[in-house]
Every structure is written in C-alpha cells, then in structure tokens.
Point group: C2
Chain length 355, copies 2
Amino acid sequence: MSRLADWTTRKMGKFTLRFQPYTLEMNHVFTVASFSRTSTPVILTELEYEGVVGYGEASMPPYLGESQQSVTKFLNKIDLSTFSSPFDTEELLHYVDSVEEKNTAAKACIDIALHDLLGKLMAQPFHKIWGLNARVIPPTSFTIGIDTEEIIHKKVLEAEQFKILKVKLGLDTDKMIINTIRSVTNVPLCADVNQGWKNKEQALEMAHWLAERNVVFIEQPMPKEQIDDMAWLTERSPIPTIADEGCQRYSDIIGLKHVYTGINIKLMKCTGMREAKKMAELARALDMKVMLGCMTETSCAITAAAQLAPIVDWADLDGALLINNDVYDGMKILDGECHLPDRPGIGIHHLFTNT
Amino acid sequence: MSRLADWTTRKMGKFTLRFQPYTLEMNHVFTVASFSRTSTPVILTELEYEGVVGYGEASMPPYLGESQQSVTKFLNKIDLSTFSSPFDTEELLHYVDSVEEKNTAAKACIDIALHDLLGKLMAQPFHKIWGLNARVIPPTSFTIGIDTEEIIHKKVLEAEQFKILKVKLGLDTDKMIINTIRSVTNVPLCADVNQGWKNKEQALEMAHWLAERNVVFIEQPMPKEQIDDMAWLTERSPIPTIADEGCQRYSDIIGLKHVYTGINIKLMKCTGMREAKKMAELARALDMKVMLGCMTETSCAITAAAQLAPIVDWADLDGALLINNDVYDGMKILDGECHLPDRPGIGIHHLFTNT
C-alpha cells in the first residue's frame, strides 16, 4: 500500500472519479524493434456511483504519445455531472471520446472503470453480461523480446507453461531468434515485427521462412503507412497478417479489409471495452481474424480485456506477467490458459486494500 | 385469461420452456401489395430458470412461411438441457439457430424470452444492459394499409397523434393514396412498397414524385431478386431505399451495402434481439441507415424490439396497436412517441395474470 500514491478525487454530480499515477516495474529489460525499457507508467482509476466502485487503468508505453501528465490532464477535463446513470453508457462514453482527440488510454481508464461499475451494479461478470463463455478462451501467448541468443534461450525455457509464444522481430536478428527458440521448443509462435520490415519482397520471403517454422501469424510486418505493400504481402503470405499499429480504432477496420488478414485489438488503443467488443464483431463480420492484445498493464486492464477473449482467435494477455508490482488480483494464467474470475464487473480485487 | 390456451410445458435440465398458440385479432382488414388478412397467428413462450420467467413471442404472418404448427414443431425439437446457464447466451442461441434452417420467428420466441429472463436476473431493462438511452427513441410510424380513398382518409384522421406515417404502396393506387393522405396531413411519410414495383425507371420516377411529397424513404421498392435494378435505383433515388424482404439476417448485410441505403431489422426475420443488435451495429459501421420494424405482434415482441430503438434512425413499432387482444402491458405510444417501461428484462407485464 505504501507504494501507492494519493488519489486525486473529482466529484462530479452522482459520480466520483479518483485517479493516481503508478509505475509498473518490469521483470526484464524489454526490447522491441524500436526501443528498450524497464518500466511502464500507468494511471489507476476508480469510478464511484451510489457507493459502488469500478476500477480502471490507463497504460502509457512511452512511444505511444500518452503519459501520466497527459492522462491526468485529460481526466481533469472530464465532467460527468450531466449524466444521471452509468447505464447511459453509450452517451457517456461518446462524451468522453469527444472531449479531446486521441488520448485513447486516458479514455480507456474511464471505460474500464465504468464497465467494472456496471457489472457490479448488475452483479455479473462482464463476459456473462455479453453472453460469452469464459471456458472457451484461447491460450494466451507469452512475449519473448528481442535479446541475445543466451537470454532468449533462457526466457523460452522459463516460458514452458505457454502453449503459444509471441516473438518480437524486426531487427537483423530475426532468424537467429527463431532458430534459438526452435532449438528449445516446437510450440506455435506468433511473430510481432512492429513495422520492422520495409521491403515487401523480403517480408514475403520471411513470411514463407516463418510459416515453415510453425509461426501462425505475423503482426504488423511493415510500416503502417505502406498500405499498398501490406495488401500485396497479405495477398501472398502463407500465414495471416495482423494489423497492430495499423489499426487503432473501430473506424479503421473497414479500410483494412484487404490490407491485413486480421486486427489486434488493445483497450489502450481503442478507448476501452465497449469499442473493443464492437471491433471484434465488425472484424468477424468482415471475415477478418481477431487478436486481443495488451500493453504492459496491471491485472486491471488485462482482466478487463480478457472479458472479450471468448470471441477472439488469439489472445496475447501476458502484460501483467511482465511486471513485479501488480496491484490487483484478476485473471489467472495456469498452464498457459486464461482463467477469468467469476466475480461481478471485470472481477478484480485490490491486492493491498483487499476490496 | 379464458382466451388463452393451455401451455405446453417442456422441462429440459435447468430450463423450462412453455408455449401456446394465440391468435391476434386485427382492428382493421390489413392489405399490402400481395394480400389481405384480419388476424395473425402467434406463439407465446415462457422460459423459466431458477424460478425466474422470461416472456417471448413468435409472430407468423402467413406469407412468410412459418405457422403455429411449424413453430410448435421447432420448439419441440429444442433441448436446452446441456446448458447450465442463460448467461451462455452466445452458445445457447448459436445452438438454437443450428437446430433447423430458417424458422426465424420460432428462434426469436426463444431469444426474446431468454433476453427477458437475463434482464430479470440482472435486475435491469435490456436497453440499459446495452447501455442505451431510452429517452432518445425516434417517434414510431403508424401504418396505413392499402384501402379505398374513403377509408384511408378516415384512418389518417384517426392517426393524428403520429409524427410520421408509413404507407403501404405497390399497387396501381399509389398516387391516389399519397394524394389522399396529403389532403389530410403534411407529416413525413415512409413508403413501403413490399416489392410491388417491377420496373426501375418507373420506380425512380415514383421516388422523385414521393420525395416531392415529403416521403422520407422507400422500403423494398422492388422485388428482392432484382439486385442490379435496386442498386441502380438506390444510386439515383433522391430518398433512401430500405431493404425489408431483401434483408433477413446479419449475414445478408454486407452484400447489400451498395444495393440499398439501409435495412429494416425485424426480430421475426433475424431470430431475435441478439442478432438484431449486431445487425444495427454492422449496418452503422457500413454507413447504412437502420430502421426497426415489426410484424403484427403483442406488446411482448414489440417491447423487445424497442429495447434497440435508441440506436435506429426510424422506428416502426405499431404492431401491437393494430390488434384488439394484446396479452401484455409494455411499451406505450403517447403522441407518437415510444415510452419504454423502466422494468427489468424487456419490461412487460402479463395483462391477465398480472405478472
């Protein structure tokens, strides 16, 4: 509890919003194609209505443009006093979305708290409110960052419980990384290139090389601006391509139909659970694949995202495993399988205050 | 109460399904482009789980191919005993949909009862569970059937509370009907042609003629098979075209994007509330207009459909006003505006048993 800062409290009509900064400490230095880091700043939120409290979280990996400062600024602009009920969810979140452009993580920390609150008011876990069966969630992947052969070898051995691994690629070490992993395990892999490949012919060659090594899809192989190259690659790739940086929100999806095979939905990119659910359904309607991803997050945002996991093709929900100072008890990962709590709302408990 | 038949009761595991035939008596002979009738057969259902009962209904206008016999046969095939909870909504309704092809009204009477049950278990009206604001429902249209000049004149005078009227067209009396109505009122009209126009050039000419007389859209102007003609008409029409017979279910929508401007969603066509909600959202994502329609129905199916009304462009929910032997107290229409009950589930009460 001593690690938590004081809450900033904003009373607005029937709602009270509380928030505080928190810094997630990562177990390992984490390297992807564009940067390395050892911590992730987040904002924790609570939204209270008639004595019931919902928990939320915004996670701000530095390269995405949001920060504790920007989220705090955003939350100080929000005024919910004109809303009389959290059940006016559509209008309330439409208002939150309209306050500023972007700020998607800031918006998500309200959306998540609101969903947790709503679920508690209805006394049901949110996946049940959505009518989804928590027993059919795909196993989560566990992420292996870009690293030396020795450390990758060690990390893969440590990750033996996982039925699928996600590998960060995009530098000149790609083949070394895959070969190193394949010297240890034959589990299916997902490759996340984080826009690292710039040439479509080389990307296609790598797609074939990876497919032969049981890589099941490639996430964001090329820069998101290279739409035509991506469409060219997707048409020819032996394995699905998934948009991550290339697909932020609901309104992006229709334009991506022939550019990628599927999309990676993350609450911090898309403003939260309500939009994420709509994105999954729209992608399905367009015959696109759906992956559910995360940032480095506490079990709050992870468990919130996991409510949607029963209707996705691939789950990548290891964000809370990468840190050593989680704040909540929520979704459990056992033998690589996701186990959602059967508790109202998003179903998390605060680890320090036991609520 | 004496008018109601005995319930057929089927116990299946933790669920009990009850159903009975009922015949809706219509206030007026009802004529559209293809037929006339004075009554509508329905099946009323109850779905019970742990002592909580949800109400449902199937309405079977004879020209759509279902009947009390076919619905009864379908309901006798359903076995819910493998489902332990109504919260496994997605899987349960997927099962119901898989039992037989078509039978959409039969499927809807289970879907509606299930949603009513779920809402009661969560102690919230279903529009609130969906996060929708019941105070922003569009005014409902009221339907004027094809009739003589004298009777149309009389019906329009009787319908003075309505802020929008729906007119059945498609025979050679179209201009007479519109002129008769316009001699009484200037309220906006929706034209429902029920596939009555066969020639695209004449249809376009009529679209212009109607637009000049404040007709706001044309529903199913041409036969649903004439896809190319419809696309031609939609591209040129000064007012939106709406698919009714041409759009039954969710999977139809994507193919209709450039064929019609929008779709008419009816629970009896699309298997119920869950699919209807997805259809509305998908149509929106495709920049299509959404109309919410109904058959002749009791306040059960009408109030169920109305849960979705906050997110549609046009509501046509007059089905229970056309009958003189409603069984439920539900959505109220006052001065043409829809007022949803603020009660759990779909929010209806049985008029005879007072439950």
